[in-house]
């Protein structure tokens, strides 16, 4: 199989950047999942789609708005009414979901090349993300595993909280480098490390 080329190019510079003192407030990583898939359910079919997606991914997803589930490298979260984004390290997630979700229940759209996944983690993650998005990132308002669909200026972003101070951001591939540079820029203040 041909390997995917990251859209970040030379902008992805490993190591410490920004404020040099102390431990970095932020760790940034391109997680490069093998599959990123959008799942849609027709109105009234959300329950069966959630059940099918949970079974394929092996994670328990609740049929609630903006709910999500994370287990290791597999993750799924709500990005709109009857709409979820799922990711997995393996590359065949879309075909497995297609088998499990019938056309009468919903749709499966492979976005593995169309979106990239960035992980922002560390004690300053909420602070840095708050510079970009008018979203309440506090743990009580945005619990672990939950998802959000939002935008920064012209850039759509889907966000899942994967830990108390960790978030996975899914960004349109063509915008990825611009967004990455902005993310690094905003993280300079707290110091950041690209891993």
């Amino acid at each position: 199989m041909v390997e995917q080329v990251s859209p970040l190019g030379a902008a992805y510079r490993l190591g410490r950047h920004g404020r040099a003192e102390g431990t970095p407030g932020i760790t940034l990583t391109e997680t490069r999942p093998g599959s990123i898939v959008q799942i849609g359910a027709w109105p009234g079919r959300e329950g069966s789609v959630v059940a099918a997606a949970s079974a394929v991914l092996g994670v328990p997803l609740a049929n609630l708005p903006r709910a999500g589930a994370v287990s290791g490298h597999r993750a799924i979260f709500g990005i709109g009414p009857g709409l979820w984004l799922a990711s997995d390290q393996v590359e065949d997630l879309a075909s497995r979901l297609l088998e499990a979700i019938g056309a009468e229940d919903g749709t499966v759209t492979d976005l593995s090349h169309g979106r990239i996944a960035l992980r922002i983690a560390g004690p300053s993650a909420e602070w840095v993300l708050s510079k970009f998005f008018a979203i309440d990132f506090s743990l009580s308002a945005f619990p672990v595993e939950a998802g959000r669909a939002t935008a920064h200026h012209d850039i759509f972003v889907h966000i899942q909280r994967t830990g108390e101070d960790a978030f996975d951001l899914y960004v349109f591939r063509s915008f990825a480098r611009s967004f990455w540079i902005a993310l690094c820029h905003a993280s300079e203040e707290t110091g950041y490390e690209v891993r």
Binding site: V2, H113, R115, S138, D154, S174, R177, I181, G191
Partner: protein, 997 residues
């Protein structure tokens, strides 16, 4: 004697000295100083010249309300004018300049305009510079003639021309309780809300928290008030869910309890830290808000009240207690209320000689009398200051018996020698945010002040903001407000006890002393009490009109020290009470906001670039890039020394003669999926898609509802319920919105999902006579012969392991294929295609060559589908299905769209062998002086290598009826006039034999 630093006292760090420069002179100050306190400590009395009369002015206040001491800060090569010296924190190396003086502060030529003072009264410009009705200077011409001179003489500081290198940032915050102001009320509100477990945000515009408790000299809970502040702030920081933002002004209160704040992150430092912004704009979404913004002292209006050395009494108290700075040695105070007495004691303890306290009232409280005694001041009650003297600083005042009830002066004046006069005319609650939040303030006759309105949004007031001017009330009010904001009962434990003098907070209703001389109401704009009366006499009775006519209350200080007095004088002139005259409502911002902070990352950085998967390859090949919307696309791949035209002609020739390849990844791509997808496409396209077989593509046209052409592109049927729609690059977002709108609101019953997959696919169009051979050399697992892959057929295969989808379609008119693969494989597949094409001389081509090829072929794009053309104008009638309705079908043949004079698509050939330009008009007559009317315009033009001529597409009245006729291009902007022939828009291979062969 000049103002000076007291030997002890103040909360400055006396162990360290820092340098600063004012008007080129070097001075020393201490950490903790403001520029104003440091200038006073260095004996600088004149810090600016006034707006109109160029009168010398000194430091008047100790906060953002400062009307006089505006300076220009020079930092990082940037001039930032009109900053109050009272709000600048001193740092080592600070450089500032005074403003509005020429040639220098001490000697100002403009001051002669002070001699012509009466000429510059209210409305002077309106009256003087409205020119005569006739003649060379009629109307506003005379004004324009004089404007340059006036602007030079009047005004504030000057901004620089250099770009600002500072960094600005935006931040979003959410909280349960926002507390604005950190005086005793704000601190208690924040602590009570935090104690109740709420998420609290506490904003304080000054560098240090505590408000008046920092300088009041009172005792709170057995400690000095200032120590109580330190301890309370330390306690607050212990709560987990509180954020404290000093140097942060909440400046706007918007709907839905959304507030705007400006944090000055690095203004107080010589250098910002790595990554640190200079200013940070906060958008705060608060559950509830506690407004504890305190009150601002207002001055009294009397002749000569603007002389350097005259200062607000509360400000003088702050300078003495907080900074250990005395405004003078021989100080008099002039007041209509008790608070000035506390200031007198503060000044006396710092070492000043309090000459006298002049009080307009006859009846003085015992507590105030006691303070006067302690300060060693002569109490002159029932008197008013009627004049001041001194050249560049005050040296003498005259006081005269005054009846505060009747407002009349009696008896004879006496003089007092002083070098500082501290004035208090009462206090105005800082109700700006409450006013912004929705309602009109209400007048309180006892406090002689406007109090906040009833809340229309979820806010609660506390402390001096509510007119509760004592610290005891502020603490109790803060606790109650914090509990109410948190939605809990007020805590039972008793509040900390306050020990303070029992002062009478109600001022006498005195705003102006009726003596002869220039008495300033608005110091910043040089508006006098007589100006207001003049405005009244000239008919400006509304307070809003008076403000505009006199400019009272405008500019950077927004009349914080002048609005109420101005209103009172207007009310007196009209014989009405103050509330009958009304008040101006407050608008955002509360205090000046840097535009950089509002723009934040939009400044210079984030208009995001959209990059195709091949972006780095294009750059490596030396492509000249071109911004197409947000996308970066190759315009040409020039050889050294080539012009744009030479490059695109070479690239286009290669496509016609051999084979070329172009990055088409930017085309909008939308997955249309679901059981009703085909039905949906039949409705949104003018032609039919339900009949399209799987693995075939069809060219489609969309109209808007009113029958105008909207977008075109091919849509591929990848499965029974699975379509891939392509749109023009520029229209992708609009088409997506269009589709979502119809699915969400018009046809919610259709089971169709649309998803943007533009970024999922990299696309390469391989075009030219050798295109099939190139593909055959690198694509495995797919038959590419004409029978297996006819025009608009789709096959799937692999390129060295990377899956690809190939569709045979042509934009250039040549044999052409679009090869799509996963975007992450884009560069790999592209390089494989380049290698496979090498034996055929494959050449990458850019947008210019693409445009040339499509003009030659007569394909339309956004230049022709311009929001005005209908499908018949573009000769796309053949795409309009008669068997089904579609969006736009009901309106596309209305009268206006089928009129005879519609502009229709034609081709144009230049007959004088000179270039044509888009936007040029087509006219019928050869004479440039008499061209007759325009019959149309050029939409796209190029040099056609296929024809060896300059050609263009155009929209012309009559369309194909004019084929073969002569016309002229008229392009006055580019000075071009010449003969053209109108021809078919299909310049090259109209039969399509090249692409279909």
């Amino acid at each position: 004697m000049s103002p000076r630093r007291a030997p002890i006292g103040g909360r400055i760090d006396r162990s360290r000295q820092i340098r600063f420069t004012f008007d080129g002179r070097r001075f020393m100050g201490h950490p903790g100083d403001t520029l104003a306190s440091a200038l006073l400590a260095n004996g600088v009395k004149v810090v600016g010249r006034s707006f109109k009369y160029h009168r010398p002015r000194g430091i008047f206040s100790a906060g953002i309300e400062e009307p006089n001491a505006l300076v220009t800060v020079l930092k990082d090569g940037v001039r930032e004018p009109n900053i109050p010296a009272t709000a600048i924190e001193l740092f080592d190396g600070l450089v500032v300049e005074s403003q509005n003086r020429f040639p220098s502060l001490a000697f100002d030529l403009g001051a002669v305009s002070g001699l012509a003072g009466p000429l510059l009264s209210a409305g002077f410009y309106y009256k003087t510079f409205m020119g005569p009705a006739v003649g060379p200077l009629r109307g506003t011409r005379f004004w324009r003639f004089c404007e340059w001179f006036i602007r030079r003489a009047a005004g504030l500081g000057k901004a620089g021309y250099d770009p600002d290198p500072s960094r600005y940032e935006r931040m979003n915050a959410f909280c349960d309780v926002l507390v604005v102001g950190s005086g005793p009320a704000g601190l208690m509100a924040a602590r009570t809300a935090a104690e109740a477990g709420k998420r609290v945000l506490l904003c304080e515009q000054e560098p240090a928290l505590g408000g008046s408790a920092r300088w009041s000299g009172e005792t709170i809970g057995t400690r000095f008030a200032s120590d109580w502040v330190t301890e309370t702030v330390a306690e607050l920081a212990e709560y987990g869910d509180i954020r404290i933002l000093p140097r942060t002004t909440v400046w706007g209160y918007y709907d839905g309890n959304t507030l705007a704040a400006l944090e000055r992150v690095a203004d107080h430092k010589a250098y910002a830290a790595v990554g640190e912004p200079r200013h940070r704009h906060w958008t705060i979404r608060a559950g509830s808000v506690v407004l504890a913004t305190g009150a601002l002292e207002r001055p009294l209006v009397f002749p000569g009240n603007d002389r350097p050395g005259i200062m607000m009494a509360g400000a003088a108290e702050r300078y003495a207690v907080e900074y250990g700075v005395l405004p003078g040695d021989r100080v008099a105070l002039f007041t209509n209320n008790d608070t000035a007495y506390r200031a007198a004691l503060g000044l006396e303890r710092a070492g000043a000689d309090i000459v006298s306290i002049v009080d307009t009232r006859s009846d003085i409280s015992d507590a105030a009398r006691d303070l006067a005694r302690q300060a060693g001041a002569e109490l002159i009650s029932g008197h008013a200051v009627v004049a001041t003297r001194g050249l560049n600083a005050i040296r003498q005042i005259s006081v005269q018996p005054f009846d505060a009830t009747t407002g009349k002066l009696t008896g004879a004046p006496r003089t007092l020698d002083v070098d500082s006069l501290c004035v208090s005319g009462g206090w105005s609650p800082t109700i700006h945010l409450a006013s912004q939040a929705g309602a009109a303030p209400r007048w309180d006759a006892r406090l002689q002040a406007f109090l906040p309105p009833e809340p229309l949004q979820k806010w609660i007031g506390a402390g001096a903001f509510n007119g509760a001017f004592t610290t005891r009330e502020a603490i109790a009010g803060g606790i109650a407000a914090g509990a109410a904001a948190a939605g809990v009962a007020t805590p039972q434990e008793p509040p900390p006890q306050v020990e303070s003098a029992d002062l009478d907070v109600h001022p006498a209703p005195v705003f102006e002393i009726p003596a002869a001389g220039k008495a300033f109401v608005d110091l910043q704009h040089d508006v006098t009490a007589d100006d207001i009366r003049l405005a009244h006499r000239e008919g400006f009775v509304s307070v809003e009109h008076m403000k505009r006519y006199t400019t009272l209350g405008m500019a950077t200080d927004q009349g914080r020290t002048s609005n109420v007095a101005g209103l009172a004088i207007m009310a007196a002139a009209r014989g009405l009470s103050i509330p009958q005259v009304g008040t101006t409502r407050f608008r955002a911002p509360f205090s000046p906001v840097s535009l950089g902070a509002l723009a934040a990352e939009r400044h210079g950085e984030l208009k995001p670039d959209r990059l195709t998967p091949l972006h780095d390859w294009h750059l490596a090949q030396g492509a000249r890039m071109y911004a197409a919307g947000l996308w970066q696309r190759p315009m040409i791949y020039p050889l050294p020394g080539e012009t744009v035209e030479q490059a695109y002609v070479r690239e286009a020739r290669a496509v016609r003669a051999r084979v070329g390849i172009i990055d088409v990844s930017t085309l909008g791509k939308i997955a249309v999926q679901g059981p009703d997808a085909a039905e949906f496409l039949d409705r949104v396209y003018t032609n039919t898609f339900s009949s399209l077989p799987v693995n075939r593509a069809r060219y489609g046209l969309m109209l808007r509802e009113e029958g105008i052409a909207f977008d075109d592109g091919t849509t591929w049927r990848l499965g029974e319920r699975d379509f891939l729609m392509t749109t023009t690059t520029a229209n992708a977002g609009r088409v997506m919105q269009h589709l979502e709108y119809y699915l969400d609101t018009v046809w919610p019953d259709l089971r169709v999902r649309v998803t943007s997959v533009t970024d999922q696919w990299a696309g390469a169009a391989v075009a030219g006579p050798h295109a099939r051979q190139v593909l055959e050399r690198c694509i495995q697992g797919a038959a590419l012969d004409h029978a297996s892959l006819p025009p608009l057929g789709i096959v799937r295969g692999e390129v060295a392991g990377a899956p690809v989808v190939v569709c045979r379609l042509s934009f250039s008119g040549e044999l052409a294929y679009e090869v799509y693969c996963g975007a992450g494989h884009g560069q790999f597949v592209w390089e494989e295609l380049m290698a496979a094409g090498e034996p055929f001389g494959i050449l990458p081509y850019g947008l210019e060559a693409l445009g040339t090829l499509r003009i030659e072929k007569g394909h339309v794009t956004g230049a022709e589908i311009d929001g005005r053309t209908g499908p018949r104008d573009l000769y796309l009638d053949w795409m309009l299905s008669k068997k089904k309705p579609f969006i736009g079908s009901a309106m596309m043949d209305r009268d206006g769209l089928i009129a005879k004079d519609r502009l229709k698509l034609v081709g144009i050939v230049s007959l004088d062998n000179r270039p044509l330009s888009g936007g040029a008009h087509i006219v019928e007559k050869a004479d440039p002086e008499n061209p007759r009317g325009s019959i149309g315009h050029v939409t796209a033009a190029c040099f056609s290598p296929a024809l060896g001529k300059y050609i263009a597409l155009a929209l012309v009245q009559g369309g194909r009826k004019r084929h073969g006729t002569r016309a002229y291009i008229s392009d006055p902007v580019r000075d071009r006039y010449g003969p053209v022939e109108i021809v078919s828009h299909h310049f090259v291979d109209p039969e399509g034999s090249r692409m279909n062969g």
